[in-house]
Each structure stands twice: as structure tokens, then as C-alpha cells.
């Protein structure tokens, strides 16, 4: 093989399991510290908005949740596609592990958006392009989870899920550009690559810190869920029994009968 063996080292569930186990506490520590910092800046340093009053403070969780909902969908579709194209079991397991977290962030984006829309627009919900496409994203996550759960044979389920994930990913750019393409009630992008930020620096800072906090959170939870899925799927592999008995360690000696 000309490919470096290093590249595939962590592609095996048996390798991934202990590595992810070691990473999870660090992701949690990062998430907690960043959340504390983000909330502090957001509530005690960022000024009251001139037009929206203090209702705008929902932005510190609304925008990060909405960004995560879209990003996680693309990451899920990416790993699902890798799992399908290269017959990589771990990639498919990661895709499965991302779906509930992505769906949760989608729900939170809609929920916090409703609570922000009521005081600023006078409506909890409008059938606007941004809101409707984000709702469709929630259905796409639900569809992925439902189809994967409905098929008994795991690899067949992975492939069906990958198809849903890949086709559905067309919705993500629609959500992102909806505020540009259509006249919507929703305000434009908070951050733009082409224009200087219009927000106060402290507001922007709090929002970005919270985004990284949610990111760390997603890494932690997805690692944890992937570990659970690995144990469920590989329960008849000898390494998994040893790992379960020993806690987090995964002895990778002889007797391993896993294929990556």
C-alpha cells in the first residue's frame, strides 16, 4: 500500500473508541469555559440595542444554534457519503451520531427565533423563506433518523440514510441564501465576508464565543454518541467486550476481529 497507514489508523471503530473517550473531557471543558465567557460578554458587556432593546440578546444562542444546524447537516452528509463511497463503517456511525444533535440545534434555532420574532415582528412564526427552509431542515434530520432506524440491516440503513442526507444537503445553501434571494421578514446575514460587521464589537464577540462553545459541545456529544453506537454495532467483536469491561481502554492486541 502506498497510502500512509497513519491515515486509516483512526478509521477503525476499535481505534476510534478510546481516542474519542480521551477527547470528550477536553471538549466539555472547552464548551463550558467558552459558554461562561460568551454569556458573560453577552449579558454584562454587550450594550442594550438601540432599536430592539434587550430582546436582541437571544442572538447569542439563536445564531450559533442556526449555524450549527446547517453545519452539522453538511458534516453529517459528508460522513454519510464517505461511509457509503468507501464502505467505511465508522464514517456512517459518525453520521448517525450527528443527526440528533443537528436536529436539536435546528429545533433550538426555531424556538429561539420564535421567541425573538414575537417581540420584534409581532409574530411567533411567519411562512417566510428563511423560517420555512429551516423547518424543512428539521424534517430532513427527522427523515434521516427515521429511515436509518427503520431498516434492520445496519449497512443497508447507512446507505439509505446517506442518500437522504446527500439529497437533503441542497437545502442548506437555500437556507443560507434565503435572506438574499427572496424578500423575507428575517434580517440579513449577521456576518458577511464582503461587508464590515454592522454589530457592536462586544455583541459580535459574544456571538462568536458562543458559536465556538456550541461547536465544542457538538464535538463532545457527537463523540459520546459515536462511542455508544460503536459499542452497540460491534457488540460481537472481541475488542468491544474488553473495552466495555475495562471502561475506556481498548486493548488492541491479538484476537481482534474487526474490519474497518
Amino acid at each position: 500500500m502506498s497510502t500512509s497507514p497513519r491515515f486509516f489508523t483512526f478509521a477503525s471503530p476499535a481505534r476510534f473508541y478510546p481516542l474519542a473517550g480521551k477527547s470528550v473531557p477536553w471538549f466539555w471543558a472547552t464548551a463550558i469555559l467558552l459558554t461562561a465567557a460568551g454569556l458573560f460578554v453577552g449579558f454584562f458587556r454587550a450594550p442594550t440595542d438601540a432599536t430592539q432593546g434587550d430582546a436582541y440578546r437571544i442572538i447569542f444562542i439563536h445564531v450559533p444554534a442556526a449555524w450549527m444546524s446547517m453545519l452539522l447537516y453538511l458534516v453529517m452528509a459528508f460522513w454519510a457519503a464517505i461511509g457509503w463511497a468507501f464502505n467505511a463503517r465508522l464514517a456512517s456511525m459518525v453520521a448517525r451520531a450527528i443527526a440528533p444533535t443537528g436536529a436539536m440545534f435546528t429545533f433550538l434555532a426555531l424556538w429561539t427565533g420564535a421567541l425573538w420574532g414575537k417581540p420584534t415582528w409581532g409574530a411567533w412564526w411567519v411562512w417566510d423563506a428563511r423560517l420555512t427552509s429551516e423547518l424543512i431542515l428539521l424534517f430532513l434530520y427527522a427523515g434521516f433518523m427515521a429511515i436509518v432506524a427503520a431498516i434492520d440491516e445496519p449497512r443497508r440503513a447507512d446507505r439509505a440514510g446517506a442518500l437522504v442526507a446527500i439529497v437533503g444537503s441542497v437545502n442548506v445553501p437555500i437556507i443560507y441564501f434565503s435572506v438574499k434571494w427572496w424578500n423575507t421578514l428575517h434580517q440579513g446575514a449577521s456576518i458577511s465576508a464582503t461587508a464590515a460587521p454592522t454589530m457592536a464589537k462586544t455583541m459580535l464577540l459574544a456571538m462568536l464565543i458562543m458559536t465556538f462553545a456550541f461547536w465544542a459541545y457538538a464535538f463532545a456529544v457527537v463523540c459520546m454518541r459515536t462511542r455508544a453506537i460503536v459499542l452497540e454495532r460491534d457488540r460481537h467483536a472481541s475488542w468491544a467486550g474488553d473495552a466495555a469491561a475495562a471502561g475506556t481502554r481498548s486493548p488492541l492486541g491479538t484476537g481482534q476481529r474487526l474490519t474497518a
Binding site: 434587550d54 430582546a55 424556538w111 466495555a244
Partner: protein, 57 residues
């Protein structure tokens, strides 16, 4: 300082219900999810250990 008192802080300029409603549900979800995932991991581990003790299948 933005807030004059704790009551002022919790009132959020009259938007308290909206702001805290958004934060409360977000906190509830983001605290519940890791607990549920840890429970799922625990179930998977116990099932494996039970398999081991029950002999090869």
C-alpha cells in the same frame, strides 16, 4: 454596568419572558442531551458485559 439591579437584569428591559424562555429551553436541551447519550452508552456497555458473562453467543 448595564444593569442597575438583579431585578433589572431579570426583567431584560421588559423582554424577560422572551429572553429567558429562549435561554431556558436551550439550556434544558443542551443539559439533557449529554445525559441521555451517557445513559445510552451505559446501556451498551452493560449489554456487552452481560454478553461476556453469559458466554459466547
Amino acid at each position: 454596568m448595564i444593569w442597575n439591579s438583579a431585578a433589572d437584569f431579570f426583567a431584560m428591559g421588559g423582554y424577560g419572558l422572551y429572553v429567558w424562555g429562549a435561554y431556558a429551553v436551550t439550556a434544558a436541551c443542551m443539559l439533557a442531551e449529554p445525559v441521555l447519550v451517557a445513559m445510552r452508552h451505559g446501556r451498551a456497555r452493560r449489554a456487552l458485559v452481560a454478553d461476556e458473562e453469559g458466554g459466547p453467543r
